[in-house]
């Protein structure tokens, strides 16, 4: 099957990928593609700034709807600087932990309260 390309700059309409709402637009496209069994290339060409809030929504929540292997085997990225890759990896690592252990946040609050 031919790989499709999602151009992040065009989807967001800006070189700054900041808001969670913009991440949701990207997420919706990726989700649709993955449901159809597509291989997807995420192109960050001309993107200058990326927040974790954007990436959490665009990429992080994929781990709720798809298993890790499907994501790993279907998605790849291009034109992402090393610094942004560090940020990206941090988001995917956090997402994997978050969905594996949904009680973690509640437990961390109890720890603060000494319960």
């Amino acid at each position: 099957m031919k790989e499709i390309t999602i151009k992040i700059f065009n989807t967001v309409g800006s070189s700054s990928c900041v808001a969670a709402d913009d991440g949701q637009k990207v997420f919706d496209l990726i989700k649709e593609g993955l449901r159809k069994g597509q291989k997807i290339l995420l192109s960050f060409q001309n993107v200058e700034f990326i927040t974790t809030a954007f990436l959490n929504t665009a990429i992080g929540q994929l781990y709720r709807d798809f298993d890790e292997n499907t994501i790993k085997n279907s998605l790849r990225v291009e034109h992402l600087s090393n610094d942004d890759m560090v940020r990206f990896k941090r988001v995917t690592d956090t997402a994997k932990l978050y969905y594996k252990n949904p009680e973690k946040l509640e437990n961390s609050i109890k720890e603060v309260l000494g319960e």
């Binding site: 800006s14 900041v18 200058e48 992080g60 709720r64 988001v91």
Partner: protein, 287 residues
């Protein structure tokens, strides 16, 4: 009615306490004139926190009257546009060391990005910085703005900044008049964290109040950047004060509560560190 004088307002615990005391002393008033004097000094970036407080006081249809402003202060906060909200003319900032005071709706994210570009990234007066450092500072500011948009339940977000060319510093402050860290976290988890416990929980990596979506990385990344940059950041939320710099974390309680949250970031501009990590990530490991 007794007026209030704010003296020597800088990004210190004592200065935030003065702002909180002003708010707490006047917050119950209705249809009154609140007389305020500004003396000694006022860091222009803290117009962000001051604007949030004055707006909160104006919910009681109170009139804000500046009965004395030291001339040096007046010039600066006229230049950054703050006093334009209170009946004064705006004056041109010839030295261009201020970053304009803005009162934004939560939905003004795109406008905020243009503002950061024109007021911070694209300024000739900006201290010379590496492109990498500029990117890091910009991303930190964006992360904090999005946090305010997402979590605070505020109507408005107030921002202002200041260059300190001789000290090689930029300070940038983002304030909301929303529910604060404590109420946001306690509402989400039905818990009873104090304001300081709530702030400390929120700055830990991966802790977020978002439901169904992972998060909680922005403040942790800011903290790591601040260490490398030798900068400083402060959070004032409800009655909690948190400061993080090279010497570590400091927390204190205020007498009274701030009506929302202030995030104040101080960046060192003569930092030539390389922020590239030695261990390069390969794209195949991203997912």
């Amino acid at each position: 009615m007794r007026g209030v004088t704010l003296n020597n307002i800088k990004s210190t615990y004592d200065s935030y306490q003065q702002l909180i005391s002003l708010y707490n002393e006047k917050k119950g008033l209705l249809l009154e004139t609140i007389d305020i004097s500004l003396d000694q000094w006022f860091d222009a970036n803290l117009c962000s926190a001051f604007g949030g407080i004055l707006d909160s006081l104006q919910f009681g249809l109170n009139d804000i009257n500046f009965n004395y402003i030291k001339p040096e202060i007046k010039t600066i906060i006229q230049k950054n546009g703050f006093l334009s909200h209170y009946g004064f003319e705006k004056i041109i900032d010839i030295n261009r060391t201020t970053v304009e005071y803005l009162k934004l709706k939560k939905s003004d994210g795109r406008y905020f990005q243009q503002y950061v570009f024109s007021e911070l990234l694209n300024r000739q007066e900006l201290p010379e910085m590496t492109a990498e450092l500029k990117k890091k500072i910009t991303e930190s500011i964006y992360e904090m703005f999005v946090n305010a948009q997402t979590h605070s339940e505020t109507d408005f977000i107030y921002t202002a900044g200041q260059f300190f060319p001789n000290r090689h510093r930029i300070e940038f402050t983002i304030t909301d008049t929303g529910i604060g860290f404590k109420n946001c976290i306690n509402k989400r988890f039905k818990s009873n964290l104090s304001s300081v416990q709530a702030i400390k929980w929120a700055v830990a990596d991966g802790n977020s109040t978002k439901q169904g979506i992972p998060g909680g990385i922005g403040l942790a990344i800011l903290k790591e950047f601040i260490v490398m940059n030798h900068g400083k950041f402060q959070i004032v939320s409800n009655d909690g004060f948190y400061q993080f710099d090279l010497s570590g974390e400091t927390t204190r309680l205020f007498n009274g509560s701030f009506p929302g949250t202030v995030i104040n970031m101080q960046f060192c501009t003569d930092d030539e560190s390389s922020y590239s990590l030695s261990n390069e990530i390969i794209p195949e490991d991203l997912f």
